[in-house]
């Protein structure tokens, strides 16, 4: 039930209703609580991942189980401390986390933080590219569908949208790869760049790890072209999923806002049709996209795992799959914690941005 408090009649023309006034402070408090909630979320995730990983096997057995006698294997497990009670290991791990020590990966001996920054930048690049695809495909097509509502174009676009978000990411990836790389040969099969460009880009001073950015900074146009050619298919494979969602969302929202009273009210004031559409209908219709974008980050990171594997895109998702098979707890936990932080933070930031640009949230 919504209980609207209207201003009491005696001061209907007076000050703002009391409840509205407090909402400014309420927003601040809301932001604070949202922020604080990030921590328990991450804690729960860490705990879940920790126990799930530990009860399904240790990395030493995975690596050596087929070649070492039982006693030697046990010795190694003991030496690594994996035979201790799981709670002891858990609190030890929590203690490490509390001091900001994420440890070193077990299967390839690297600092987790360094591993995260290395692969994180690749995933970031993929996500940015995919988001661009989603926005550039989803929003314009959504607008077209809204304006051609119930016409042929709309029907086609709606089917397209359903295909976009109903097609599993890995399948879309394979399909794109088979068509454009293997069959037509237009685009590279996999990876983030050809070996020479990759060598050039990784040997730069202080690389960002985002290849097109590094290529731009170093003015290496050949590498840039190569990087972009490699980026197309993964970005499309991952971005289409979200593009489909954006398409539907934009279509529904714009159809909704086009039919709103305020559009008719604007019309009754003599505002031009063009302006009614671009200002009155689009702005309120497109603001929710920002919120959905925040939610889509989680979907994208999930999809990134599959896309990265398909396209040999060496990012967090790609590594996550590898570390999972190798039962590298430390690495998996590191990646999951980072992903959780990213999802929590982006949602948090997106909510704040939405609150700042959407007066409906702010007031």
């Amino acid at each position: 039930m919504t209980t609207l408090i209207d201003a009491p009649p005696s001061d209907a023309d007076g000050l703002l209703p009391a409840t509205k006034k407090s909402s400014g402070g309420g927003l601040g408090q809301y932001i604070l609580i949202r922020f604080l909630l990030i921590f328990p979320t991450i804690f729960i995730l860490v705990t879940m991942v920790f126990f799930l990983m530990r009860i399904t096997g240790d990395p030493i057995t995975v690596a050596m189980g087929g070649r070492l006698p039982a006693d030697q294997l046990q010795e190694r497990i003991q030496a690594a401390g994996y035979d201790r009670p799981i709670l002891v290991q858990y609190f030890e791990y929590l203690g490490q986390l509390a001091t900001g020590n994420f440890g070193r990966t077990l299967t390839d001996n690297r600092a987790v933080v360094e591993m995260l920054t290395t692969y994180g930048s690749a995933t970031l690049e993929l996500s940015i590219n995919a988001l661009l695809v989603a926005l550039l495909v989803g929003i314009p097509l959504g607008l077209v569908a809204a304006h051609r509502r119930d016409k042929a174009a709309d029907a086609v676009l709606r089917v397209f949208a359903i295909l976009c978000y109903a097609t599993p990411v890995f399948f879309a990836g394979m399909l794109l790869k088979l068509t454009f790389s293997v069959w037509l040969g237009w685009l590279p099969v996999a990876g983030r760049a050809k070996t020479p460009s990759e060598l050039a880009l990784t040997s730069l001073e202080a690389p960002t790890g985002i290849y097109w950015l590094d290529a731009l900074r170093s003015g290496n146009m050949a590498a840039l072209g190569d990087v972009l050619a490699h980026a197309v298919l993964p970005a499309v494979a991952l971005g289409l999923l979200t593009a489909g969602i954006f398409l539907r969302l934009v279509r529904t929202n714009v159809i909704g806002t086009l039919g709103r009273d305020y559009v008719e009210a604007g019309r009754s004031r003599g505002v031009s049709e063009y302006r009614l559409v671009t200002k009155h209908a689009y702005k309120p219709a497109l603001i929710p996209i920002i919120t959905v974008m925040g939610l889509q980050i989680a979907v994208m990171l999930g999809g990134a795992v599959l896309t990265e594997i398909t396209f040999e895109w060496k990012g967090l998702g790609f590594q996550l799959a590898n570390y999972l098979t190798a039962r590298d707890f430390v690495a998996v936990q590191g990646i999951v914690v980072l992903l959780a932080i990213i999802v929590a933070l982006t949602n948090f930031i997106v909510d704040i941005i939405a609150a700042l640009i959407d007066p409906r949230v702010r007031y």
């Binding site: 927003l27 003599g270 702005k283 309120p284």
Partner: protein, 576 residues
């Protein structure tokens, strides 16, 4: 372009000639037809009318009368599926035949519109100043070839806001719509309409979405506009009280035709047409037909108490970071068998919350609420469930409370099936009886909710509430979505059934007159507090609490002369 100027007909006009006799608006033989899947629908069959400068013309009618379509035609706002013929002439231009560009010029400058729901007529993502200025600049640029600077447009927006009585407009011009209360929002909508000083304002149900006390202020504002600026107003409404309060002349429409046209006082005093007479008779009139007429003490004082609230408090937890909101604050009352307790209040007063709490749909958070002897504080669904069959509930919007997938018969039978598991034959028989008692043909059991009219649905809703012979019925605004004539019939029916079945009833409404017709005992809620309760006719005739006084004073009665008197009498009380 056909300009059709009617010869003046003196008898036609209430206020005689103004402005050289040329009407501000002249509608001549207007016909509007909608193309639908089910064939053409003639929404407006043949309407001719005119509005003079400084005149308020009310177009009244029930749903389907064509009044809103007529209003939209005046601004050329009909959808593409509509085709219209005839002429709608404003300042010499026929909006039906002019070009789109010319139409855009007319809109806002020559005629503007005020909408029913101010919260949806304003775009939530732009400031009110921006929206008002937008209309100003839309015209300035195009017509005079001279652009109006943003600054100038804003200062004119401030001026418009000042005109409609928004305090501190320099500051509030930068507010977003949702920062205003409902009444203020409607003022903003009116300000937007006034921005270019159009000679004519079409107000489509401008107060229907507002509380009655706010309605009084908006009506006063519209009256002011006419008096001060000579603005003509076409007032579209179903509310005869509003008509009586504001209109100079009235056009009564029924099914796309004009039934009667007369100066307001004449129409109310001597309606010529049957339809008009019936319509007027159906309008609840405060003080007429009171259920508590002549009572001196409470009819059901403390005999067989079914509901007892004692300092009942209901809080809604605040959203993250906001304090809890007290919807109901220390309310005490009793409701006995056979009694109808009318609960009156404006939006946000807590009346619906109380109703839902009694039905076990809302949790109570403090004090005591005993329903059929069961303490609702810390309610447990398992122990309360057996009592549910003794409580019926009728909702405001019957369309929303019926499952569209089920037939009316299945909907009505649903509570029975849940609580008593009857045989199919028993169900059929009972549903037939119930439909008969709410005066619906038994064959309606096989129909689906959307096949029924609003009034029929509300009858079916009543039948469903009564299906288990409840001892207690909660009716939350059961008639406020209905047309007056339908409302009158449903109220009549309701009264009969209540007397026949003798259930206790909590009747919730914002409409004092409706409450008075049904309830002998009335309580007035204001911001969660029960500020006054007593015998209906006593409260209506001699209110004690300031708020009750204001509430009664705000309610326009369907009689222009009486209403004018009341208005003068209560001017101080209403703060207008």
């Amino acid at each position: 372009m056909t300009v059709n100027i009617d010869p003046l007909d003196a008898g036609h006009s209430g206020d005689g000639e103004l402005d050289g006799g040329r009407p501000v608006l002249d509608i001549d033989h207007l016909q509007v037809t909608f193309a639908t899947d089910g064939g053409p629908v003639h929404a407006v069959k043949d309407v001719s009318l005119e509005v003079r400068k400084g005149e308020v013309l009310a177009i009244v009618g029930e749903s389907g009368s064509g009044k809103t379509v007529t209003a939209k035609t005046i601004l050329g706002l009909l959808p593409e599926t509509a085709s219209s013929s005839g002429a709608v002439v404003i300042n010499g231009a026929d909006v039906i035949s002019v070009s789109a560009a010319r139409l855009r010029q007319i809109r806002g400058r020559d005629v503007a519109m005020v909408f029913q729901e101010p919260s949806t007529a304003l775009n939530p993502v732009f400031t009110v100043g921006w929206q008002i200025a937008e209309g100003i600049r839309a015209h300035a640029g195009r017509e005079s070839g001279k652009r109006v600077s943003a600054k100038e447009a804003k200062s004119r927006a401030i001026e418009a806001l000042r005109k409609v009585g928004i305090p501190d407009p320099e500051h509030r011009v930068n507010y977003y719509p949702q920062q205003f209360s409902g009444g203020q929002k409607q003022r903003v909508v009116i300000a937007a309409a006034l921005a270019l000083n159009p000679g004519l304002i079409v107000a489509d149900e401008p107060t229907t979405a507002l509380d009655v006390t706010v309605q009084a202020e908006i009506l006063e504002l519209l009256r002011d506009l006419r008096d001060k600026y000579g603005t003509s107003i076409v007032l579209i409404t179903h509310n005869m009280g509003v008509v009586a309060d504001l209109a100079d002349r009235v056009v009564v429409m029924y099914q796309g035709d004009v039934v009667e046209e007369a100066p307001a006082r004449t129409l109310f005093a001597e309606p010529r047409q049957d339809y008009t007479r019936k319509l007027l008779a159906a309008v609840p009139h405060l003080g007429h037909n009171s259920a508590s007429e002549g009572l001196t003490s409470r009819a059901h004082q403390d005999e067989d108490v079914l509901v007892e609230a004692n300092n009942l408090t209901i809080e809604y937890p605040g959203r993250l970071g906001t304090p809890a909101f007290k919807a109901v604050d220390r309310v005490s009352f009793t409701l006995s068998r056979g009694e109808v307790f009318g609960l009156v209040g404006e939006s946000g007063s807590g009346k619906t919350t109380i109703g839902r709490a009694i039905a076990g749909l809302n949790r109570t958070t403090g004090g005591s609420l005993k329903v059929l002897g069961y303490e609702m504080l810390n309610l447990r669904e398992r122990t309360f469930k057996p009592l549910r069959k003794d409580i019926g509930f009728v909702f405001q919007d019957p369309a929303a409370s019926f499952n569209p997938q089920l037939t009316i018969g299945e909907c009505i039978a649903e509570p029975m099936v849940i609580h008593t598991r009857p045989s199919p034959a028993q169900v059929r028989k009972r549903v037939g009886e119930l439909l008969e008692s709410v005066q619906l043909p038994a064959s309606y059991a096989a129909r689906y909710p959307h096949e029924l009219s609003g009034g029929q649905r509300q009858r079916a809703s009543l039948a469903r509430a009564l299906s288990l012979n409840p001892r207690l019925l909660i009716a939350d605004e059961p008639t406020s979505a209905l047309d007056v004539s339908v409302q009158a019939k449903v109220l009549e029916l309701f009264k009969d059934i209540q007397q026949e079945f003798e259930f206790a009833c909590l009747f919730i409404s914002h409409d004092l007159a409706v409450v008075d017709i049904l309830s002998s005992w009335v309580g007035v809620l204001y911001k969660g507090r029960l500020v006054e309760q007593g015998i209906g006719s006593h409260i209506m005739g001699n209110p004690q609490h300031d708020y009750t006084k204001r509430l009664i004073a705000s309610l326009p009665v369907p009689d222009p002369e009486e209403q004018a008197r009341r208005r003068e009498q209560h001017r101080a009380l209403l703060g207008i």
